[in-house]
C-alpha cells in the first residue's frame, strides 16, 4: 500500500525531529493522535493539530497521558492508525496501557522524546534513560519493538517504520527519540507519496460468524477486524482463549503469552535494523543508538586516525535486542564500547549477550548533554591497550 498523496508533505525541508516525526506519522497513514503536552515532545502534536484539520484526522488533547495511551487503543480498534507522543513522566503514566495494547494485540505507536530523568529531572535536556523502561515498564511478561532515530530525517523514516511494524505484528511500537534529535533541525527529504510503502491492517476475510479472533493467523499473528464490521468480537486484557473469551487458567495464559512473545522473538531478523560500519575487520566495536551514535562516529574516527581497528554497530532497532549479532561479534572481537546517555542500560544487554567472550566498556552519562567525542575516543583507546 502507498501513502496518501494529498497528505504527504513531499519536498525538501529544514525541520526538527519532532516535526519530522509528525510528518512521518501523517505519511504512514496515522489519522488519530491523542496526546498530552510535555517538553520536549509537544511540538509533535502541535504540528499535528495544525495539519490534521486540512487532511482529515482527529487530534485530541486528552486530560492526561493515561487517557491518551488508552484512547489510541480505542481508535485503533475503530480501524485507525493511532499514535500518542510523550516524554519520561508521561511515559511512566502510560505503562498500564502498553500492557493492554500488548495483551489485546492492538497496533499503535508510542513516541517518547526522552529527556533527563528520573522524575521531573531535566525537562529541556536530552537523555536515553527510558530504554529499559520501554521494555520492562509494564507489569507482566511481554515483548515490544522499539526504534531509535539519530536525525530528523530518521524521525520521519522510522516513524513510518513504527506504524508498519505495529500493523505487521499487532503490537505497540515505540519510537524512542531524545530531546537532542527532537529539537535539532536539519534537512529532511520527504519523498513523493508513491514511494512511501505503507503496511495495511491485516483484516480477516472470514465472514461474521465464522471469524473468531484467533482462528485466522498469519504465522503467529492473528488477522484482525474492526469495530462495526459485524464480527461481534470480544477484546479483553484478561487472559483469553482463542475465541477471545476470558479464561483465567495457567494453561491458557501460558499459550497466549508465549505466542505474544514469540511473534516478536521469532521475527527478530525481520524486525531488527542495524547499521554497521567496518565491523568485520574490527578489534573493537562501538555500540550506540540515537543521537549518541552520531557523536560516536566522531570518537571512532579519532580512534581510527590513531590506527585502531574500530567498527561501529548502530542499533536502529533497540528492541528486540540483536542478541545473535552481539554473540557472533563477541566471538571475534576484543571489546565492545557502548555509548549511551544512561547508566548503561543497553550495555547490560551487550554484557549479557557477549557472555564474557569480549570485554564490555561503557561511555556513559546520566543525560543532559551528549558525550564529547574525546571521551568516546579515550574509552576506545583505554580498552584497546
Amino acid at each position: 500500500m502507498k501513502a496518501d498523496e494529498k497528505a504527504v508533505n513531499t519536498g525538501i525541508h529544514f525541520m526538527d525531529g519532532d516535526s519530522a516525526c509528525c510528518e512521518g506519522a501523517i505519511a504512514a497513514g496515522c489519522r488519530f493522535v491523542a496526546g498530552y503536552p510535555i517538553t520536549p515532545s509537544t511540538e509533535v502534536v502541535e504540528l499535528i493539530a495544525q495539519r490534521f484539520p486540512k487532511i482529515g484526522g482527529i487530534f485530541i488533547q486528552m486530560e492526561d497521558e493515561i487517557a491518551s495511551s488508552i484512547a489510541i487503543s480505542g481508535a485503533s480498534w475503530a480501524g485507525a492508525k493511532a499514535m500518542t507522543v510523550t516524554s519520561g513522566p508521561g511515559f511512566s503514566l502510560m505503562m498500564e496501557h502498553i500492557g493492554y495494547a500488548v495483551m489485546t494485540e492492538t497496533p499503535c505507536v508510542f513516541v517518547n522524546v526522552q529527556r533527563g530523568g528520573p522524575s521531573t529531572g531535566l525537562p529541556t535536556l536530552p537523555g536515553q534513560q527510558d530504554i529499559m523502561q520501554c521494555r520492562w515498564g509494564s507489569h507482566g511478561d511481554y515483548e515490544v519493538i522499539a526504534l531509535s532515530p539519530n536525525s530528523p530525517q530518521e524521525c520521519f523514516d522510522l516513524t513510518i517504520q513504527c506504524f508498519n511494524l505495529a500493523e505487521k505484528y499487532r503490537v505497540p511500537v515505540f519510537l524512542m527519540m531524545d530531546e537532542c534529535v527532537g529539537h535539532m533541525s536539519e534537512r529532511v527529504v520527504i519523498p513523493p507519496a508513491d514511494e512511501i510503502e505503507i503496511e495495511p491492517r491485516h483484516y480477516t476475510e472470514q465472514a461474521p460468524g465464522e471469524f473468531s479472533p484467533y482462528n485466522d493467523m498469519e504465522g503467529l499473528v492473528p488477522r484482525t477486524t474492526k469495530a462495526g464490521d459485524g464480527h461481534n468480537i470480544l477484546v479483553t486484557g484478561l487472559t483469553h482463549d482463542d475465541r477471545g473469551y476470558p479464561d483465567m487458567s495457567a494453561n491458557t495464559h501460558q499459550v497466549l503469552v508465549d505466542r505474544l512473545i514469540k511473534k516478536i522473538r521469532h521475527s527478530a531478523d525481520d524486525i531488527i535494523i542495524l547499521e554497521e560500519d567496518d565491523v568485520d575487520g574490527a578489534d573493537i566495536v562501538v555500540v550506540s543508538y540515537g543521537i549518541s551514535s552520531r557523536v560516536a562516529t566522531r570518537g571512532v574516527r579519532m580512534a581510527r586516525e590513531k590506527g585502531l581497528r574500530v567498527g561501529m554497530l548502530r542499533l536502529v532497532t533497540v528492541w528486540p535486542f540483536p542478541e545473535n549479532r552481539i554473540r557472533e561479534l563477541a566471538d571475534r572481537i576484543e571489546a565492545f564500547v557502548v555509548v549511551e546517555m544512561n547508566q548503561g542500560q543497553i550495555m547490560r544487554e551487550v554484557q549479557r549477550c557477549s557472555e564474557g567472550r569480549a570485554q564490555v566498556a561503557g561511555v556513559l552519562n546520566y543525560g543532559g548533554a551528549i558525550h564529547p567525542p574525546e571521551e568516546i575516543y579515550q574509552t576506545i583507546a583505554g580498552v584497546s591497550s
Binding site: A34, G57, G74, A78, G228
Partner: protein
C-alpha cells in the same frame, strides 16, 4: 411502578411458527444479544447487574439500534463484565479507562454507537477524571453506570459512592466520607442527559436507555443496583431481593428536582428520575462547525480516521 407491555418487536423474536397461539416459547428475548456460550455468568444470586442488562437489551431492541455498529466498552469490575456477555463488539478495557477508550473508538469512527457500561468505582473513582472531561467535551457516548455503592469485584471496599456510615471491607467500622452525588457531579461537568433509576425500576430504566440512544452527546444513566454479596450482607440486606424492596420503598420521583438534591444518604429517600435533558453541540460537531467556519475550503471534512 409502571407495568408495560412487551412490544411487537420483542414478540417477533419470541413467537414460534404457530402464529395464533404460542404455547411454548423457547427463547428469552435477551438471548439474542447475549453470548449464550458464556451463560451462566459470574454474577452472584440477586446481583442487580444482570437486571440492568435485561433493561439494556430490551432498550436496544426497542430502539432498533443497529447491532453491527454498536460497541459496548467496560472497565474492570463486576459491572465491567457486562460488555463480555453482550454479543456485540465488546471491549473490556482496564480499570477506569472505558471512557477514554470509548472516546478513541467513537472519534475514530463517528458512525459507531458507543456505550460505556461500567461500575461506580470504575467510573467515578479511578476513572473520575475521564468522566469529567468526556462530559465537558460532550463526547457522543452513552454511559451506563451501575452503582452498587461498593467495589464489588475486589471484595467490597468503600467507593466514592458508598453512603456515609455504611460498612465496607476497608471501612469495617463504617465509612466516614461524603458520597459523590453522581447526577449532580456529571451535570456540573456538562452531560446532556442524566437519569437515575434503581434496578427495581426496570421499565423506566429501559425507557431512559432508549432515550439516551436517541440523544446526541454525552449521556449518563446511573443504575442503583443491589450487590447482596459485598454490600447488602454487610449492611442489613441479606439478599438482593431485600435491597430491591428497599429501593421500592425509599425511591422518590419528584417534579423539577435539582440534581443537587439527589444526594444519597443511608436511610433517606433515593431520588430517581430524569434530571437533565439539554442540547449542546458534541465535540465532533463543534470541531466540524468551527473548522468549516475558520478554515473554509481548506478544512477537510472529517468522516472517520479508518484506514
Amino acid at each position: 411502578m409502571t407495568e408495560s407491555v412487551v412490544t411487537d418487536h420483542t414478540k417477533q423474536e419470541t413467537i414460534s411458527a404457530d402464529q395464533n397461539r404460542v404455547e411454548l416459547c423457547e427463547k428469552n428475548p435477551a438471548e439474542d444479544f447475549l453470548r449464550m456460550d458464556r451463560i451462566p455468568h459470574i454474577w452472584c444470586p440477586g446481583c442487580g447487574i444482570g437486571t440492568s442488562v435485561n433493561a439494556f437489551v430490551r432498550a436496544l431492541i426497542e430502539a432498533k439500534v443497529d447491532r453491527s455498529k454498536l460497541c459496548v466498552v467496560s472497565g474492570i469490575g463486576c459491572s465491567g463484565r457486562v460488555s463480555g456477555y453482550l454479543n456485540v463488539d465488546a471491549f473490556h478495557t482496564t480499570h477506569g479507562r472505558a471512557i477514554p477508550f470509548a472516546t478513541g473508538l467513537k472519534l475514530a469512527n463517528p458512525e459507531l454507537t458507543v456505550v460505556v457500561y461500567s461500575g461506580d468505582g470504575d467510573l467515578s473513582a479511578i476513572g473520575g477524571n475521564h468522566l469529567v472531561h468526556a462530559a465537558r467535551r460532550n463526547i457522543d457516548i452513552k454511559v451506563v453506570c451501575v452503582n452498587n455503592f461498593i467495589y464489588s469485584m475486589t471484595g467490597g471496599q468503600a467507593a466514592p459512592t458508598t453512603p456515609m456510615g455504611t460498612i465496607a471491607s476497608t471501612a469495617p467500622y463504617g465509612f466516614c466520607e461524603y458520597a459523590l452525588n453522581l447526577p449532580h457531579f456529571v451535570e456540573a461537568c456538562g452531560a446532556t442527559y442524566i437519569a437515575r433509576w434503581t434496578t427495581f425500576h426496570v421499565r423506566q430504566l429501559q425507557k431512559s436507555m432508549q432515550e439516551s440512544f436517541a440523544k446526541k452527546g454525552f449521556t449518563f444513566i446511573e443504575v442503583i443496583a443491589p450487590c447482596p454479596t459485598l454490600y447488602g450482607r454487610r449492611n442489613q440486606y441479606r439478599q438482593g431481593v431485600d435491597e430491591m424492596k428497599m429501593f421500592k420503598e425509599v425511591s422518590r420521583r419528584e417534579k423539577d428536582i435539582e440534581t443537587r438534591d439527589a444526594e444519597i444518604k443511608p436511610g433517606e429517600k433515593i431520588v430517581i428520575g430524569k434530571f437533565v435533558d439539554r442540547e449542546r453541540e458534541t465535540w465532533l460537531e463543534s470541531m466540524q462547525h468551527h473548522y468549516k467556519e475558520v478554515l473554509g475550503d481548506a478544512y477537510y471534512p472529517y468522516t472517520g480516521a479508518m484506514i
